[in-house]
């Protein structure tokens, strides 16, 4: 529906104002509360927000105009019913009260600079305390001033603490318990929180100088985090690796034929094809697309399928994540993968592009090898290892045939996945590589 926007009351006693800048044009999509124009009154320059979301259809004023309170500024084309209740009043809502903190520290911190090494979580930095949420007025955290002060000094957001007292009252003990469990989660239950949480179990090194000289080299940040993550995975996840192989001659033939006609960015890789097949396999075997919550005694089954791909960089291994791959075609996946891998190697990847994976593929085929045991990347529960394909004699019932064979290995969290399920999952992948029609049999 079409909605008139009038100049609301901006300040007591102010009747008119001058439009100093017009910030929207006809056809612009505006959000609720988005600033439409700035008005200069004899007291101050005031931003006039849009009362509704919609598209600007007409503008009746221009910069420099003197406008009276109540005059029509513009017309807005709104969609949907949500906006209509507000629209009935015909006037703008009151501007927010003075107490709402503006210009708060968080506003400036939302953009992430790219150059520094992109890092996965597990990395508690001393971020400044966010003060913006303090005046949440309708449901306040039930804690006494002393408790709130202690939380503040520890950098704890009191709103995240679950109170154990009557009416959910938060005590000093509740804040302590919150800090304790948070620290345990951050350090993987370590005894002493340290900068290398995963390495806390390391024994002292022997005196190597007895045997010869060694040089010391600082660990890169990626190496530190890899060390942490891998020791955590190895020491907490009982893993099994399942091996299998697939005849990939026809798929490989298709792939190469296709690549002969395309540029480097449109290059189709075996990994891209495997991503699509794994996405389909994870739909058939949803338990492999999950996370284990032992504390709650629950398995989190993800509705989304985000597949990470291990990328070798000069500084170490990084795992960029392709999102919602089950909803993308192989061509789109291939393009996205090439871009992600390229930016990862050049260290131009954003931290959020390394997050959210639910399954990982590690393809060492380009280098060689016949098989390997990848390590599950927690909190995921499975990872697919890909080795180099090679011509092998395959018995076809009457004789040996030369076939291009791709060796695959699947490591999985045995707490979540039984051997039979792991074997079936990997078999499904192999069969689909051999008969891609499987991809569309179920959906």
């Amino acid at each position: 529906m079409k909605q008139e926007i009038k100049l609301p009351e901006v300040s007591e006693g102010v009747r008119v104002g001058t439009v100093t800048s017009l910030l929207v044009a006809v056809g612009d999509q505006v959000k609720n509360d988005q600033t439409l124009l700035e008005l200069e009154t004899d007291k101050a320059v005031v931003a006039i927000p849009s009362p509704l979301a919609g598209t600007i259809s007409e503008i009746h004023i221009s910069e420099g105009d003197v406008v009276e309170i109540g005059a029509t500024l513009m017309w807005l084309e709104t969609a949907g019913e949500a906006a209509e209740t507000k629209a009935e009043t015909g006037m703008l809502p009151e501007t927010p009260p003075a107490e709402e903190p503006l210009g708060s520290p968080t506003e400036t911190e939302t953009t992430v600079p790219l150059p520094p090494p992109p890092l996965p979580p597990h990395h508690p930095t001393a971020a400044p305390v966010d003060l913006t949420g303090i005046r949440r007025d309708d449901r306040v955290a039930p804690a006494s001033p002393t408790v709130r002060r202690m939380a503040r000094e520890l950098g704890v957001d009191i709103y995240q603490v679950q109170g154990s007292g009557p009416g959910g009252r938060i005590s000093i003990e509740d804040v302590r318990a919150f800090v304790k469990t948070t620290m345990q989660r951050a350090t993987g239950g370590g005894i002493t929180p340290s900068e290398f949480p995963g390495l806390h179990a390391q024994r002292p090194l022997p005196d190597f100088s007895r045997f010869g000289t060694s040089t010391r080299e600082p660990l890169s940040r990626i190496r530190e985090l890899t060390a942490d993550s891998m020791s955590y995975a190895w020491s907490t996840i009982p893993m099994v690796t399942q091996y299998d192989k697939a005849v990939v001659g026809p798929v490989e033939e298709f792939r190469q034929a296709r690549n002969n006609g395309t540029g480097p960015n449109g290059k189709l890789t075996m990994t891209a094809i495997l991503i699509k097949i794994c996405a389909a396999a994870l739909r058939v075997f949803p338990n492999l697309n999950s996370a284990l919550d032992l504390a709650e005694r629950e398995l989190l089954l993800h509705d989304f399928i985000n597949i990470g791909v291990a990328v070798d960089t000069p500084d170490g291994l990084l795992v960029p994540v392709l999102r919602n791959v089950d909803r993308k075609g192989i061509e789109a996946i291939a393009g996205e993968l090439n871009d992600l891998a390229d930016r990862t190697r050049r260290r131009r990847i954003k931290p959020e592009e390394l997050e959210g994976g639910t399954f990982t593929i590690s393809n060492l085929g380009g280098i060689g090898g016949t098989a390997f045991t990848p390590i599950v990347y927690p909190p995921q529960v499975a990872i697919l290892g890909v080795s180099r394909s090679e011509m092998q004699p395959i018995w076809n019932g009457t004789g040996f045939e030369p076939q291009l064979v791709l060796p695959l290995s699947l490591s999985y969290d045995h707490r979540v996945i039984d051997g039979a399920a792991g074997a079936r999952f990997l078999r499904w992948i192999c069969e689909t590589l051999e008969q891609p029609l499987n991809l569309v049999m179920k959906n």
Partner: protein, 465 residues
């Protein structure tokens, strides 16, 4: 307040009202070297000179008069009180002097540099200062706290004079007029109107909206209104003042009611109490990056920091509610933050008290707000009719209301009306800050016989049925 202008200061506090002086004192206690600037002779500001304190002095006079009158009905008869206006005024001013002298003494003891004058920002580290004695100078500061408060709003085109007063004029108590119109049914108008009414003025109150005391629950207001209807000559609701004309022997006022019907009346005096506005215009804020909002309040964050690094704002200038005790709270936060401490203004409740007779006081969530936000709450309303202490005071008009979370019994708000409600509300504020539940309130032993038992009894009601 008569020190010379120092060339520089670690912390300068502009304005010596409740916010300014307590921020200056606190900061000095925390080890900062502080300069306090105010146009007044001594610290105190509106609260002491033109607000809380003088109005309470006049309301005390009002109370003595009405109690003498009421005493008749319980068998204590005395001659009708006569008022010596001059003596009342002198007593009131004496109270102010005692208090402001106390503050001045504390400022000296804490070795504050105090300047009697005004200040304007030249840039984000320099103030241009003009003292009351005509001296001009510049002061370079590391940090500053703005606490310049607010002033009464007047109707457009109207100026105060002999017959048209704002709250400041009314508190001066020049005389006791025969008739007075109070424009505005908020707490300032009702308090001052009550004081004048008790001293013998026929008071009319005119309010533009449908009821008195906006923001307060209607059931509390109605208890007050029952008594005000008796004490005031009339209360005109839904009525606008269209015109004020100061004449030789009165003020001619034109009203317009809801239906648009106009009428003209004459009053000896008119008191304008339609609100207050922050004093942010004369500070030279344009020379800094400090932002003010469309109502003229300085925009601050949870530490009371403005958008200019190192400059804080507290009290009325930093936003509603414009109350001295809110300023105290903010003052301590700003002073601690200026001294490098991790402080935040994060109260669970800021009590509001209207010092009429009966008093009205509330804190936390109001029932109206709970309904607007669709919160699941339980309320307990207890009339003071059954309270022993109220009856032995010769009163039975009063109500205590508790609002608790229906799910977990946690106290969310308290509303009180009755004599002494302003003192009683402190318990409710403490309870809210401590996240108390209805169970807590009904378990705590309250002294008998007191009005505070109404809180205890109301809490019991939450557990019936």
């Amino acid at each position: 307040m008569n020190d010379p202008i120092p060339p520089q200061s670690q912390l300068v506090v502009i304005g010596a009202g409740p916010g300014g002086y307590s921020a200056a004192f606190r900061a000095a206690e925390l080890g900062l070297q502080v300069t306090l600037i105010d146009p007044g002779e001594r610290p105190g500001g509106v609260c002491l000179y033109r607000g809380c304190i003088p109005s309470k002095a006049l309301l005390h006079v009002a109370k003595l008069i009405s109690e003498t009158e009421e005493a008749e009905s319980i068998g204590v008869r005395s001659a009708k009180p006569t008022l010596e206006v001059q003596k009342i005024r002198a007593w009131k001013n004496g109270v102010i002097e005692t208090l402001t002298k106390g503050l001045g003494g504390k400022a000296d003891k804490l070795k504050l540099t105090t300047i009697c004058g005004t200040a304007r920002f030249k840039d984000n580290h320099t103030l241009q200062i003009s003292t009351a004695t005509g001296e001009e100078g510049q002061l370079v500061f590391k940090q500053a706290i703005i606490a310049t408060g607010s002033r009464p709003v007047l109707l457009p085109g109207i100026q105060t004079g002999k017959r048209i007063l704002d709250s400041t004029g009314a508190l001066e108590l020049a005389d006791i007029p025969k008739t007075m119109l109070v424009i505005g049914g908020g707490y300032i108008g009702l308090e001052l109107g009550s004081a004048y009414a008790a001293m013998g003025t026929r008071v009319s109150v005119v309010e533009m909206t449908a009821d008195l005391l906006p923001g307060c629950d209607r059931d509390l207001v109605s208890v007050l209104k029952r008594r005000l209807d008796k004490n005031f000559n009339e209360i005109l609701l839904n009525t606008r003042v269209m015109e004020l004309k100061e004449q030789k022997n009165g003020v001619a006022v034109t009203f317009e009611d809801k239906k648009g019907k106009q009428s003209r009346r004459r009053f000896d005096k008119v008191l304008m109490a339609i609100g207050r506005r922050p004093n942010s215009e004369e500070l030279g804020l344009d020379n800094t990056s400090i932002r003010i909002n469309e109502k003229g309040f300085i925009v601050v964050d949870g530490r009371q920091r403005t958008t200019e690094a190192g400059i804080f704002a507290i009290g009325d200038i930093a936003g509603e509610p414009m109350l001295a005790h809110k300023a105290y709270g903010e003052a301590h936060v700003a002073a601690a933050a200026a001294a490098g401490q991790n402080s935040i203004f994060d109260p669970r409740a800021i009590p509001a008290v209207v010092f009429t007779d009966p008093e009205v006081a509330w804190c936390g969530l109001t029932e109206t707000a709970a309904r607007e936000k669709n919160l699941k709450v339980k309320t307990a309303k207890l009339s003071w009719r059954g309270n022993g202490r109220a009856l032995t005071l010769g009163r039975h008009d009063g109500m205590t209301k508790l609002i608790v979370d229906a799910e977990n019994d946690r106290l969310l708000g308290v509303g009180l009306v009755g004599p002494g409600a302003g003192e009683l509300i402190a318990e409710a504020v403490l309870a809210l800050e401590m996240a108390a539940t209805g169970e807590d309130l009904r378990t705590v032993i309250h002294p008998h016989p007191t009005l505070s038992e109404t809180i205890f009894d109301a809490a019991q009601m939450l557990f019936r049925g």
